[in-house]
């Protein structure tokens, strides 16, 4: 899925707003792959449709823009993605949300053998039909999101409606400020291949680890009630280091390393920038970065200026990685 700029932070917000932010935090590659597949299927299905009946392509920019204009159209599709629905059904849903109408739904299930969902829709020109078929059992979740009604005693399915999904235990409602998003962008851009995950969790799950060394941090930061997959990370003997930083009163950024062994431990200086402040606040993280980068007031700078500082941060990271 193409994008003219880095839409990752906005996408993160959109998923969280739909109540399924965890999917992006835990399975970023899956989300990216599914969005890419959605764009491909959508374009294929409309390649020979009459001109103007629906936009011919779906880009990440388009997705973000539609969320700004009509968030109720986007949220069900993001939830379906989180429910493991196939790109075929996501494309169908996207067309319906844009104004196509559901014509037929045919679902067949045989225990242990078959789960087939076929949907046909009529595009907004009221004549062009498109069919979607899937044998993916998870696609049954599409039916959770169907809006059911009757008109003149006849069945009506007009659209999809997102479910209200409370923040899962361990995942706080996000109050993301631009500064935090910038940090996430750094993680995204510079952490490629190094980070197992970057996630936001409720600070209730974090023990105080003030002034801890990184070695202590990696074993000391999770409470028993923390999300299971994060506990798994902390118990993984190959997980060399886990660093966290409390970024606001309610949320924390979690950064876990995949590289193993001593080499990863040598990287710890970089992560300690975040980890040293893990028990306290965004202010401490920020001040630590300000100290490392020698920038007096990071929050007062423009995103472009912060990008320059990020380059410096990258240099620091590279320096640390090369250290013996």
């Amino acid at each position: 899925m193409n994008s003219s700029e880095n839409q990752w932070p906005r996408l993160l917000e959109m998923f969280h707003e739909a109540g399924v932010g965890h999917i992006l935090s835990r399975h970023r590659d899956h989300v990216v792959n599914q969005l890419t597949a959605l764009a491909r299927v959508y374009a294929e299905k409309l390649s020979d449709a009459p001109q103007g009946v629906l936009p011919r392509s779906l880009t990440l920019d388009g997705l973000v823009d539609e969320h700004r204009r009509n968030p109720y159209r986007v949220a069900p599709v993001l939830q379906a993605l989180a429910f493991n629905c196939s790109a075929e059904m996501l494309a169908m849903m996207w067309m319906v949300q844009q104004g196509a109408v559901v014509h037929t739904i045919d679902y067949k299930f045989e225990r242990g053998t078959r789960s087939t969902l076929e949907v046909s829709i009529i595009l907004p020109d009221r004549t062009t039909m498109r069919s979607f078929c899937s044998r993916e059992h998870w696609d049954l979740a599409v039916l959770r999101l169907v809006g059911i009604s009757k008109a003149d005693d006849q069945p009506v399915i007009e659209s999809f409606y997102a479910l209200h999904i409370p923040p899962a235990e361990g995942y706080a409602k996000l109050q993301i400020d631009p500064w935090i998003l910038r940090v996430l962008e750094w993680v995204q851009e510079y952490g490629s291949g190094s980070f197992f995950c970057a996630s936001l969790i409720d600070s209730r799950h974090i023990d105080d680890v003030a002034n801890a060394t990184v070695a202590a941090v990696q074993r000391g930061w999770l409470k028993p009630s923390a999300p299971r997959e994060l506990q798994a990370v902390s118990k993984d003997p190959d997980a060399a280091s886990v660093a966290i930083a409390v970024l606001s009163g309610d949320a924390a950024m979690v950064v876990a390393l995949t590289p193993t062994g001593r080499r990863a431990l040598r990287r710890t200086r970089f992560y300690r920038i975040l980890a040293q402040a893990s028990a306290h606040s965004l202010r401490m993280v920020r001040s630590e970065l300000e100290r490392v980068l020698d920038v007096p007031d990071l929050a007062a700078h423009t995103p472009d200026e912060i990008d320059e500082f990020a380059d410096q941060l990258l240099a620091v990271k590279a320096l640390l990685e090369d250290a013996p």
Binding site: N70, P71, I148, A151, D152, V156, A162, I165
Partner: protein, 129 residues
């Protein structure tokens, strides 16, 4: 400007823009050439696809372009009876202002929305932040 009857729906937590979009879609079943107009700012949307519901609280759904024209030129008249749905969302309540809720196709529209809001859409469904 518009007389008629009010039909009130408790949205049960549904997002306001989703509710207004539902009105548009349900009305379009009866009026395939329906014209959607932002009732607060007067924007006429070229289609449902192009409509922007995210910030709407009120919407006019006209039966067709001719109905919109007569409503704008003449207001309510004998010639344009039951050719408009005026939908307003405030405080988790959707109000439809209709001339005659029992007349066709209003009764069908009201019935479909009633079913959707009471049984067919998730109770306390998602709403925009």
């Amino acid at each position: 400007m518009i007389g008629g009857s009010d039909v009130v729906f408790d949205l049960g937590g549904m997002d306001a823009s989703a509710a207004l979009a539902s009105v548009a879609r349900i009305a379009q079943r009866s009026w395939p050439d329906a014209v959607l107009v932002d009732a607060e700012r007067g924007r006429r949307f070229s289609s449902y696809t192009a409509a922007e519901f995210g910030t709407l609280h009120e919407i006019f759904v006209f039966r067709d372009e001719a109905a919109r024209h007569t409503w704008e030129e003449l207001g309510a008249s004998d010639d344009n009876m039951n050719t408009i749905v005026y939908a307003i969302v405030r405080d988790d309540v959707l109000t439809l202002v209709l001339e005659d809720p029992r007349a066709a196709p209003m009764a069908s529209i009201v019935s479909a929305l009633d079913g959707l809001f009471h049984s067919g859409a998730p109770w306390q469904s998602w709403r925009a932040a």
